[in-house]
Symmetry: C2
Subunit: 418 residues, 2 copies
């Protein structure tokens, strides 16, 4: 059984390599034609997608409601998948773009030009729209994709990949540009993580269990996605109205996304003036507050927080809260407990903001804005595969440009080195 999964992934790898070599020199308009045709195929196949999704939902009836909701497709969500593919098609082609150019005193002309990475493996969990987003972004960036979706969404993902294949064929591109691992055998994940040379980079997107397995087993480069333990710091010079608006949005707009705030820190200077109203807003919005003694004293509905609360990504309507002595202690708290994903400072004091933005070592640091902006679409990247908390290769939202490498093109005139 395991042997089969390894053989299957090896075959996908060989086919993906041939497709990647072709894609690397495919003009942007051909890739875009495939993406637009795939969007059209998604729309035309809507009944088939919903039917496949119904099969997945039936087998997944034991899952909790929030997971079932992530898995569920309806006509609006199918339309959103099609629009997503068109959005990716409309982005500029990253491949071949000149990222830098300069001339040296000896007359040599240098260009740094974006190139695809090659074969990208994506290992993800239940949301089936990732199948289209990841496949589309890989195609746009000239990479062949090997997709390994969650087993709960197997039929839905298969139906989405069939639509992508229809788009590829319409543009004269091989189906192997986007492949779904055609087995639910978990050994396939291990095979993908170990196939150095066959897969150039793996992008994992999922919960702690998956990320832990990837960190332990990966022998291929990984663009990592850790949890999003995001903080809101309400500084002593925060504007109360902005702080109320941003705090509730950062926590409650959607609680299940990686950019949702999990901890709110209050400067002691605003513990009396700002904290009660913000706690009131959060609780009124349906949020449970777990606070230190000062927070609990300020609002009797707050529960006492334990050490583990500062380390917990709730992904739910729960927030931990404490009082700190100014921006420096806020930074220390975030550096100690945060996951280096996304953190925001609310302040009208430029010096405090500058200190926070420079010293918080996270992929995304914000000033007077909600952590829920941690999203490739909100950055203007069109779409994303996820948010990287790695510092290596790509950090923050991983869109089409982040799935590229580069090469140097150097032009001379019979130029030799002395």
């Amino acid at each position: 059984m395991s042997e089969d999964a390894i053989e299957i992934v090896a075959r996908l790898g060989r086919e993906a390599r041939a497709a990647a070599d072709r894609l690397a020199v495919t003009p942007g308009e051909v890739k875009d034609r495939a993406l637009y045709a795939a969007a059209e195929a998604v729309r035309n196949r809507c009944p088939r997608l919903l039917e496949a999704n119904a099969r997945d939902l039936e087998s997944a009836a034991h899952l909790r409601a929030s997971l079932l909701d992530r898995l569920r497709l309806d006509e609006d969500r199918v339309e959103a998948i099609a629009c997503g593919l068109e959005g990716v098609a409309g982005l500029p082609d990253p491949v071949g773009a000149v990222a830098a150019s300069w001339t040296r005193p000896n007359g040599l002309r240098f260009e740094r030009i974006r190139t695809p990475l090659g074969v990208v493996g994506i290992i993800y969990e239940s949301r089936p729209n990732v199948t289209a987003d990841a496949g589309g972004l890989c195609l746009k960036s000239g990479n062949a994709a090997i997709l390994r979706g969650g087993s709960e969404s197997f039929h839905t993902s298969t139906a989405i990949v069939e639509a992508l294949h229809e788009g590829l064929e319409a543009a004269g591109l091989p189906k192997a540009c986007v492949q779904l691992v055609p087995t639910r055998d978990r050994a396939a994940v291990g095979a993908m993580l170990s196939m150095r040379g066959a897969i150039d980079v793996v992008v994992p997107r999922g919960g702690k269990g998956l990320i832990q397995r990837v960190l332990e087993e990966a022998r291929v480069p990984v663009i990592g996605h850790l949890e999003g333990l995001c903080h809101v710091y309400v500084d002593g010079a925060a504007d109360l109205e902005k702080a109320r608006r941003v705090a509730v949005n950062a926590k409650m707009r959607r609680t299940g996304v990686c950019g949702a705030a999990e901890t709110i820190l209050f400067d002691r200077a605003v513990a009396e003036s700002h904290m009660p109203a913000i706690l009131e807003d959060l609780i009124a919005a349906g949020c449970e507050v777990r606070g230190d003694t000062e927070v609990c004293a300020a609002d009797g509905r707050a529960l006492p927080a334990g050490e583990e609360d500062w380390n917990t990504e709730y992904l739910d309507a729960v927030i931990s809260a404490r009082v700190v002595d100014g921006v420096e202690e806020a930074v220390r708290h975030i550096q100690r407990y945060g996951s280096r994903h996304t953190d925001t400072i609310l302040t009208e004091n430029d010096a405090a903001a500058a200190h926070f933005l420079a010293h918080v070592d996270s992929a995304i640091v914000l000033h007077n804005a909600s952590t829920q902006f941690a999203d490739g679409g909100e950055f203007g990247f069109g779409a994303e595969i996820g948010i990287s908390t790695d510092k290596f290769h790509a950090r923050g939202p991983v869109g089409a440009e982040q799935l590229t490498s580069y090469k140097y093109v150097v032009r001379g005139d019979g130029t030799v080195r002395p």
Copy 2:
């Protein structure tokens, strides 16, 4: 014994992390002050450096001449080390540089700002100047460096690091910004490769044995340096004089560097007009030619090449040579046998050049210029740790900018996500 090496590396890692946190927010002028002071210390300590080097040379008397030459310091080379540090100091500070900025319709202002990677491990072989180059580049880019040099250069590297420490102290920075692994125990290399979390990235720089070990053992991200199996392709539209000049320079300027050409390909169209003169030039310069039947027929001094010759990085005055049917077959040969390092086309035909530059998937592709330009200094990077043949994170020369990551700084005005 092995236990000791692991403990030592763990301790260096902890000290490096504290230094890296400090360096990440150290202004450029402080880092530059340390680099200039280190250069001065290298000059002042010249007698001590030569004495340490003499001890290394004595123990290394059994090595072959070319390796001894790489190991040897003299007054000129010590001066070159000092100048190298000053050159790095003179580069712009990559940290804090705004690599991109844009504003979204909702008013959010985005900046992508370069940040250090953190703790960089460098594992290298005998050339002691790498100690100064790598230490200096890491310091410039705000990274703490853990250096593991070749055991042959142990005393020389120790003396160089003492000079770097003098520079760090003069600028008020901790010595742990640049540390040399203080043991020759090879278990230290394994420890560096496995310490995920303690070391953020390893840069290996050495021969096949080291690279193989790194590929097998590394559990931390690696900026890879494979061999340089570089090609010169003499196209049917090549200018004879330029081709003669570049071919001899690419092979013979220095034969031991990774950018030295190892194979020359002749378009059949110039097998009679250009090939004999170029073979004559190479042989006259002291190069052994190993050719296919057509090359051997053209010059009786050429030896027959076997399949293994196309796969061999000679790093010596030897070149393999064959006739191909135009640019497409040249590209196929390079894609099959090359190491994706550096390859050049010699032609006056723009279409042939464009095909070659687009289809040869190497870090550096050149048109009418010598492969020996594969060097960070020649690119204008000031210095380099090596040439990456990876596509992940950094490709081509690895200088200060390539040792950075980035973060997003986002500014709003109480901005929330709908």
